[in-house]
């Protein structure tokens, strides 16, 4: 599983990254987490607000800091609560 956090490095992006790490650790999943700060790559996902979350090249959310619990739900069910 490849998880990308899109954002220009603002505080919210860091918060989302922390929550993703926590959710992945809690779920016991194996995931490669990376941050994308390059504008061209962020634009290629078509998001209008950051931070955005991309899992396996699928856009999950934009403009929100999802909680670790919400991300956990997504990891199990593939949809947000």
């Amino acid at each position: 599983m490849i998880i990308k956090i899109l954002g220009s490095g603002c505080k919210k992006c860091l918060a989302l990254e922390e929550n993703v790490k926590a959710a992945v650790a809690k779920a016991g999943r194996d995931a490669e987490i990376s941050k994308v700060t390059d504008m061209a790559e962020i634009a290629s996902y078509g998001v209008m607000s950051t931070p955005a979350l991309v899992v396996d090249d699928k856009l999950v959310s934009a403009g929100k800091v999802l909680s670790a619990d919400d991300i956990g739900v997504w990891l199990w069910s593939g949809s947000l609560p």
Binding site: G9, A43, G63
Partner: protein, 332 residues
């Protein structure tokens, strides 16, 4: 006693708080009329007042904003053109949730969806410049006519600036990847509990982001208010000095602060006899333009378009400053 006057004095200007802080300052043995006592009063009163207003305002405004995610704004603006579209873009700029770190994805999202540069820039100029919370704060520190005038001129700068940039025909001055970016529509309909959550999150995030700027702003305001002699301020920024507006603008442009941080400085400057136009120019320069936002914009637009943006916005701010200095006596 009229109700409107009471709302203005007690709820917005918080006269009760001023009296309370006065009493508290006196109780510590300081005279609120003295220099040190006056500085302490200015600082404590302004900090408490701004944080109370900020909290109430951001929470309620975030509820309104939850109805206007950027994707919806883009849908509303899609396919429109002409001056009406510029005005609409400037108005939506005041209510769309916005933080300077997301202005670039927003610019990309608008441009990729085919919105003309004129409309995108009207939105980008008005968004940091005119913001619902700042309007109420202005009303609290000055009065309603100043607040409404600020909104009006802010919208004028956004509409005229966007129109001029659109006329320049610089659609090719945008980075290639911006125009070819895909367009996604992520917005969802929120339920009430989600809106309340959203408003609470916005409140905590914005307070975290601005508290330091507010403290610094109030600190500078308190220093100007009680320690800088009026002759120094009026010698530099007095109404009779033709350079007052350009100086205020040049000082303000590279500064990066929220409008909430600039308000106490504006308040203190007005108290020292600086012209309304000069103060408005300073506030607009600080909020509309800043080095970080210019550096970010450089990543998506080419130099000629960036330069045009800077010239148009700076020119607009200068014009407004000079105009308002000429007509200050209408408002204060």
């Amino acid at each position: 006693m009229n109700v409107f006057g009471w709302i203005n004095d007690q709820l917005l200007r918080m006269q009760w708080l001023a009296d309370l802080v006065s009493a508290a300052v006196s109780a510590t043995g300081l005279d609120p009329a003295s220099r040190i006592g006056g500085s302490v009063h200015f600082f404590v009163y302004d900090v408490i007042k701004i944080f109370i207003l900020l909290s109430v305002l951001i929470f309620s405004i975030s509820l309104v904003q939850s109805y206007f995610p950027p994707e919806r704004t883009r849908r509303i603006l899609g396919g429109r053109s002409g001056i009406g579209a510029n005005i609409l873009a400037a108005l939506l700029g005041t209510i769309t949730p916005f933080c300077s770190c997301s202005s670039i994805p927003l610019f990309i999202g608008f441009t990729a969806a085919g919105l003309p540069l004129a409309i995108t820039f009207s939105f980008l100029i008005s968004s940091p410049l005119v913001d619902l919370a700042s309007v109420i704060l202005l009303a609290s520190i000055f009065n309603w006519s100043v607040a409404l005038v600020y909104v009006f001129v802010g919208l004028v700068v956004a509409v005229v600036g966007g129109t001029l940039i659109g006329r320049a025909g610089m659609e090719d001055q945008v980075a290639e990847f911006v125009r070819t970016a895909p367009v996604h529509d992520m917005s969802e309909t929120m339920t009430w509990p989600k809106r309340l959550n959203y408003a609470r999150d916005q409140l905590s995030e914005i307070i975290h982001r601005v508290w330091l700027y507010v403290l610094i702003g109030v600190g500078i305001g308190a220093a100007i208010h009680n320690w800088v002699p009026e002759s120094v301020i009026s010698g530099l920024l007095g109404q009779d000095k033709w350079w007052s507006v350009p100086v205020a603008t040049i000082i303000g442009v590279p500064m990066y602060a929220d409008i909430f941080g600039t308000l106490p400085i504006a308040e203190a400057l007005i108290g020292k006899g600086v012209g309304l136009g000069t103060v408005l120019a300073f506030m607009m320069a600080v909020t509309a333009l800043s080095l970080p936002s210019i550096i970010m914009l450089k990543r998506v637009v080419k130099l000629p378009l960036l330069a045009l943006f800077l010239v148009v916005v700076t020119g607009g701010i200068l014009g407004i400053g000079v105009l308002f200095n000429a007509i200050t006596h209408w408002f204060i």
